[in-house]
Symmetry: C2
Subunit: 336 residues, 2 copies
């Protein structure tokens, strides 16, 4: 058992204290048949009929816990979702924890417990990991890194190269929840609101689409929000994107906070949403499919691709049109 109430540098030294930290916190919550902490590397059992995909992400969110999630659930869902929008089904994760000396052991325990819960919900096993402890004042409490391996059907052709003039852009739910929830959890703001992070696996939204004819491309709008995703699509394809402001779902509570503080929800991170580009003739079918899912009731068709030169045009509710700029200054750093 671990005796200390706070993590010390000795918990990162490769010796007995580190072994105790790993066994007491990480192995206890993450134990599964594929995890053997005595191994330098873990074997992966993969179905050879499918194509393995890999992705990686670091998580530095502040604060470490927020309404609707914490850095643990975020670290699983962020990487799960990068595989999901690639059309892959996540199988395995690796986990790195960079812990700042002085972190409360009880907090670390809660985070790893939620991480395990998110992994179970998404059907992934943690197969390898590593912990480092950095001196007080050099770590922001806790940084996590997850790397995920998933499998995709070899016939799946999702990608920016498949996007066509006339395609529809869909979003699976309201935007900006995660950004505002984390922002409100920061003590610097006096505002209190009832906004929870949307932090969740998007697999229920992506798995039915991955094999569907007419689905071109999917992405999860995290850092930089949906504005950044549509700019990436416009830049890569050279097509213009017309976004319809009236159709972009934004919760009233999120809109209110944004108006008070001068944020634009289009640039705020989601952690449980999907943006999909689909052929116009299947747009309604996809929306119907999404809207019956939990958290899918507000899914909407938010835009269209048109011949052009890589611009993003916002059709406003009052009937005007303006260029939607690429993100310049970060509205909310440390959001994921």
């Amino acid at each position: 058992m671990i005796e200390d109430r706070h993590v010390t540098l000795a918990h990162g030294n490769g010796g007995r204290h580190m072994r105790e930290l790993i066994e007491t916190i990480f192995v206890r919550h993450l134990a599964n048949p594929a995890l053997d902490v005595q191994l330098d590397a873990a074997p992966l059992t993969l179905d050879h009929a499918l194509v393995p995909f890999i992705t990686t992400d670091a998580f530095t969110v502040q604060p470490l816990e927020f309404p609707g999630g914490d850095i643990g659930s975020l670290a699983v869902n962020g990487t799960v979702n990068d595989l999901a929008v690639s059309g892959a089904v996540p199988q395995f994760l690796t986990l790195n924890a960079i812990i700042e000396e002085g972190l409360e052991v009880a907090l670390l325990d809660r985070v790893v417990k939620n991480l395990a819960k998110a992994a179970a919900a998404a059907g992934v096993s943690i197969v390898a990991g590593d912990t480092k402890v950095v001196p007080r004042g050099q770590g922001g409490g806790l940084y996590l890194v997850t790397t995920g391996v998933g499998l995709r059907d070899s016939a799946c052709a999702l990608g920016l190269g498949a996007v066509r003039d006339g395609d529809a852009i869909l979003v699976s739910g309201p935007v900006g929840d995660h950004g505002i929830a984390v922002m409100l959890a920061r003590e610097a703001f006096e505002l209190k609101g009832d906004v929870r992070s949307d932090c969740a696996s998007v697999l229920p939204f992506t798995v039915p689409l991955a094999g569907l004819v007419g689905v071109r491309f999917m992405r999860d709008p995290t850092r930089g929000g949906i504005a950044t995703v549509v700019h990436e699509i416009a830049r890569a394809t050279g097509l213009d994107i017309r976004l319809d402001e009236a159709e972009v779902p934004v919760r009233d509570a999120v809109r209110s906070v944004c108006e008070i503080l001068g944020y634009d929800p289009y640039y705020l991170a989601c952690e449980g949403r999907v943006v999909a580009v689909v052929a116009p003739e299947i747009a309604d079918d996809v929306l119907a499919l999404w809207r019956v899912l939990p958290d899918g009731e507000h899914a909407g068709r938010i835009g269209t691709l048109e011949a052009g030169r890589g611009r993003v045009v916002l059709q406003t509710v009052i009937g005007g049109a303006r260029l939607l700029e690429e993100l310049e200054d970060d509205p909310l750093p440390r959001i994921c």
Copy 2:
């Protein structure tokens, strides 16, 4: 091109500045056919006749550059070596950079360049990555995380379960070089020495052994040094280990610094050495094979496994014997 001389928070925001940082530094040095920064996840091409292995490691070394290496070469070799000692040949790496606001862009450029050089030397491609920027005072300059996928012959049976009473313990070169090189590079010490880190891929040492009958187990002695590796073997097998002090290779310069500062080189990190457990009848053959390799001339047979109860006994040069304790307090934190 990137205009700033120092990394700012805007370089982590998911927008234009981040894209510029990634393209100018990371893509420029790491470009390879398998790296597509537009993708959320990267496909892996694997030989189905072999077994994929995965491993991950975080690197928080201070200072970021030291004689014989830097955090970039370390981040590649550390993960390459975890696969190598597992009997796998590394194929792909993912890379996460957690950058502290204010880091000099020129330093980051040098580190990523050396990282690319180490990856090329080890024959691995960087296929996916992620950067985050954390506020000044929360990052120690730069933390790197690498996750590696390698392939191992399905007949390979390396593992602690294969270790037998009577087996020999070998080390591929002098111990403690990395620990002392990094320590001397810290300005806090006035000592100057001519010690370079042994930071390198150990693949030349492990590949010829992976298929050899009689090779039981390999590990790279990083954090905690060879003392920690032999304790892991003793604990896992329940066998005693008798280490022969006269046979453990330690460079004179490392020994001198250790004597002055009261360090024990057995507990200091190596980053380019292998400890192998082999059947006694092949020990000389393995040493002969290793000694003709670059950096292999000091390879030695340093110990023997005996029936016992998981203790590590050091046979000293003056003829005595004492228990070698498991690492308690970290002699040199932030060594990798």
